[in-house]
Symmetry: C2
Subunit: 786 residues, 2 copies
Amino acid sequence: MVNQSGKPIIFSSDMTRNFRSFFAFILMSYLLISCNTTSNNSTLVETIIEFNEAVANAKPGDAIILKNGIWEDSELLFAAEGTDEKPITLRAETPGKVFIEGVSSLKFGGNYLVVDGLHFRNGYSPTEAVVEFRVDDNNIANHCTFTNSVIEDFNKMQRDDSDLWVLFRGRHNTMSNCYIEGKTNRGPTVRVDIAGRESINNYHQIINNHFGPRPTKGGASGETIQIGDSYTSMSPSYTMVANNLFEKCNGEVEIISSKTNFNEFRNNVFYQSEGSLVTRHGNYVTIDGNYFIGDGVNENYGGIRIINTGHTVTNNYFYSIIGKNFRSPLAVMNGIPKSPLNRYNQVTDLVVAYNTYINCASPWQFGVGSNISQKDVLPLSEIRSARPIRSLVANNIIYNENGDPSPIIEHDEADGVTFKSNVINNHGLAFKAYDGLENLDFQVQEIAPYIFMPSETLKIKAYQGFGFDEFSKDIFGNSRKNDTSIGASVNPAAKDPMILDKTKYGTNWYSNEVEANDPTTHTVSNADELRIKINEAENGDIIKLKAGNYAIETSLQIHKRLNILSDDKLNTILTYSGAENTALFELHPKGFLNLKSVVLKGNSSQYAFSSINKNMFTHFGLTVLDCAISDFNYALKVYKESFAERITFQDTAISDCTNGLELSEETDDKGDYNTEYLTIKNCDFSNVNRNVIDYYRGGYDESTIGGNLLVTNSNFTNCGGKEETGILINTRGIINVAISENTFKDNPVKLVALLWGAKNNSHSNNQITNSGEIKVEENLKLKLMY
Amino acid sequence: MVNQSGKPIIFSSDMTRNFRSFFAFILMSYLLISCNTTSNNSTLVETIIEFNEAVANAKPGDAIILKNGIWEDSELLFAAEGTDEKPITLRAETPGKVFIEGVSSLKFGGNYLVVDGLHFRNGYSPTEAVVEFRVDDNNIANHCTFTNSVIEDFNKMQRDDSDLWVLFRGRHNTMSNCYIEGKTNRGPTVRVDIAGRESINNYHQIINNHFGPRPTKGGASGETIQIGDSYTSMSPSYTMVANNLFEKCNGEVEIISSKTNFNEFRNNVFYQSEGSLVTRHGNYVTIDGNYFIGDGVNENYGGIRIINTGHTVTNNYFYSIIGKNFRSPLAVMNGIPKSPLNRYNQVTDLVVAYNTYINCASPWQFGVGSNISQKDVLPLSEIRSARPIRSLVANNIIYNENGDPSPIIEHDEADGVTFKSNVINNHGLAFKAYDGLENLDFQVQEIAPYIFMPSETLKIKAYQGFGFDEFSKDIFGNSRKNDTSIGASVNPAAKDPMILDKTKYGTNWYSNEVEANDPTTHTVSNADELRIKINEAENGDIIKLKAGNYAIETSLQIHKRLNILSDDKLNTILTYSGAENTALFELHPKGFLNLKSVVLKGNSSQYAFSSINKNMFTHFGLTVLDCAISDFNYALKVYKESFAERITFQDTAISDCTNGLELSEETDDKGDYNTEYLTIKNCDFSNVNRNVIDYYRGGYDESTIGGNLLVTNSNFTNCGGKEETGILINTRGIINVAISENTFKDNPVKLVALLWGAKNNSHSNNQITNSGEIKVEENLKLKLMY
């Protein structure tokens, strides 16, 4: 986005203080430049050849206009030389009507270039990035802008085929007002690369974007923004990430992974996003005026996690964030003494000031990641025993309407942290006293949805620490001069910051808010009709099976969200006669199947359900309710690089199968796994020979928090007879496992399960007869990932 | 040093370009402020009580004047508040006539304070520093200046009693025009501490100082300047070290150890200094316009050693530097992959441009410190296998009048280094060709002592790399605009930079150039006369012993530089009857004894020579020529924490002693040892039972390069019979050992010596009869020091 003189807008913190006027300004600027360019050379291009020619001839001030329509397999190489006053613009004829599809990408090379109004969809990049601020190492972009564009579901065909959607190189480049959604393959969505002198001190701007859903990746390397890496973590970056909305950015535990120095994160909104803003490497980062909005239910919504030296966390607002440990509202980690470059440096010189925490659970956690107890199973270079030092927590407000028994958690002693002029209203609930955290009765008022600020001036006056004069404004941009208020806002705060007004973020032409259609119900009575309706149905439709026998000869492919069900389970029987090792229901990317009240029968050589074993470029999902599955080779086979956020079997019988539910192909041990939530409720397993439940995650990485296995109220009988591991339920490497209220009877195995005590593995109230036992090992030896 | 408005002078690179006018400016400024302050309150103080009162009452613009004389045991606590326009000054009544002695120190606390004209001598600090820019953690100095002062031999009483002479904390503090000499105890001379937000981005200035001799320490922690440490190596420092003369700064292998970010080293002169300027930790350091002057003989004079990311080495001049490996003119190290914080990060993004190397040996060395071959004896976290990457060497000139067979040495492949537009005149001698290093015939002219620059414009034009526009001036401050010269100066360079004009550095009242007195020769004929003359003699005098028997009953204490000799060795016999375990010659701090042509005899229970075993606060030295030593417990006993740069025995017989030469008490294994050079030439050892030669250094630290043992042309007969180690010559941990041309006969030991093959240990042409053998072990297992 550029202003009327053609110059990219440089974000300053003042601008963000008033979102609305800023956005109006941007819109106006946009219109003005649209007019302006008519006085320069403006070329409409229709083919890639015309495009290349126009680029080759482009002069400062020129505009190259992509004709509306689909640009298939288009590698847009935008290498030209604009000027500060007269950038060269590449824009859509109509913003949002130019679709970049197929094997396509955009590369900037040169100076002062603007790309505006494109929509990337139905395709993927041939290279390491969809949009790249570099043609090659000899032609790096500077002062270039990617704006008002969309990248949607532009995944490579395999999860492990890593890429980025936007790769920053060079200096002074901008990504603004874009909407980004649906990355599921390996690799951060946006990455700032600062390797090389050309890319340090870059002052890039990532501003006013709407980062829409990035689904859980099921393993590492699913950040939404990553700035640098450990190998460049000593370099100055000065990247500004401001005024963005992060919505459902769930890719992994880090939404933003800051790995270089002097970055700034200002006035961003983290909403329904399962992760944290993390200063993973690098130092002296500013985190100011951001909003972390939770719901008091989902423990995966996180806050700010701090590693390394010299960060300031000021004027941030946390609402109903109940994440624990790594995901706590403020997680200050322990470091490794003399840490290796790629591990955890000690936290020093941290300042946490003027933040407000409303209804958060244990908002301040120190010594997070302390693993001194694991020193016998981990190498010394993995032991995080270095506590934060020279750190200050001052002028913060905690308000908890239900009271919080432990507003501060010390995973290791917080003896290097000084508390000054902090206040908590804990509504009378007792908690451990700290010097510098005063218990005070005060009221808060709701000034906007999710936003509560004190309705009165508190009697505690702000502490003036070293350098606090730099914290001259509050979260809304109000001056703190001559004001002694603590917390994120000066008192009284009354203005609605409109943080969830989506018109403030992303493009001026695309909305991710779609009206829900009422689903259509299709009734079918034989196999052919079923297959036809599966093809014809719209996303979310219902296919109702009349009672009867359905003789299915080849796989039913699921490419969309479908509900398939009957009223009469016992008499609605799908008999599968397809080839060996094919699946009755084959789940393709975006195939989400809810199956209810049917009987599935095979001939013992096939699969009841499977993902596809190649090009599973995005997620699937499966819910099986009230079904009976028998005589298959596998009840469920999930192939490598397939991922479902949820797989649920409930009220279902699985019997006479060679294998049960198998999700154990991610044996590269890079921390990946195949489903976030595998849920088995009220099911019966009988005569399943092996892989009864086999759910695997390999590779030790302390910061990955998944997957989740729940097995409850289920019966396992005569299962596991051919299980080579001797374990009935294999959960190796899965972080969260709960096995409860089940009955295990006559299963010829050594162990029902081998649980990982140091993680969140538990078992309770199981009845075990003639089936071995459940064993808990405190520390599993795993392959280190780095 | 301040200017006429009372503001400290801030160093800018322009200023240094013309030393003379800069110095004149400073002098003028000094006079002006002296006049100026008369208009303010000026208080002459005579006692510490008056001083404290004056400080307590000091107002901006005031001057506190220390009365001339000796200030004994004075802890000067200068805590006050000046202003930018009106600093508060503490100065000598007459510069150089105020001596701070005894247990004394100076601490600054507050803002805008200047200390001027003091002379610290004959004492030591009671705390961790002599001069400290901090009273305590709550009163740190900012904008304070220590100027025009001397610190001389202000060592703590024991070598291991560590301190600093100047400790920087806070911000914007200056040390200027000081003269510093004689630190021998543990600890850098000057240290900038940047732990804590108060001390980062400090912009300290260390300018126009004369760093006089810092003798070899004999182990680590003998830097002249250290900026930060590995624990703060991620922090921005911005310390400026400019326009200083380093003369005989030999303390250890690092003269300057830069351990933080963004420091600048400009226009300094390194003269006769055994060490290097090292970017030990931290990144993005500027090393510009410095002079490294060697003599083509001493291999200990070093240049610039590079570790870490992003340094620029520009416009530097190297003359006759023949140091090898760590001490080479440009030593670019290998790093440890993912290095621990306190070890060796990889070199990346280095730029070496516009430097000139005249008559240097193998000036460019890459992969220095590569120790891949030691991977079996060192832990993986010690293996330096990460080669420099993304590095550029451009526009440099090498001139070698004798030709250099290997101007570039690749200890490991330099495949991450690009060479552009470099030129060498190797006078026809063949060397390995490199792209980007052109062999060219050109002339140089001597424009000043040690300074040779091309006398013609070279046909190679400077390469313009990324960011090279920042290298806008040459070593003399001439503009590079519109000039394509390579090397340190634009052509033609004609002006004498007067780098060794000592009036440009240090104080305006102290000179370290003392006229050599002609030594007096005192003739003595009996023990009493000898003792009296030893006391009376001046430094450097000669005491001549007439032939005869000298019955010495108590130790002769040597506190100065003395030559004791006779004309008639066989008839000049010193018979020692002193107590058990006392020494005939007891060497005290500053005791340097040259003994020649005498016979020394004991009663088998005493020592012929020893250091003192406590308070050996500075060095001693010993040369024994043409003597005969017999019937002692020890021929030489050197106690822990004693150090001599040189100990030499030549043409001397040592016989019938229980122990020979013992220098093996530094068993803390911190890398310390007791003499730099132990030389045994043309000597006879017979009937010495143990510790025949025992010279020890413990603790593995790859960057320490000493000590040095030479044993040559000597005979060892019937020695080592009671040696517990079974080794005749013990050299464990000594880096440089040469044993050659000796005869070993009938020594009942297992080994003559056990040498360290990986280091510089050698043996040749020895005749060994009935005395075991000389064994070489490639890698000694040593205790790691960190």
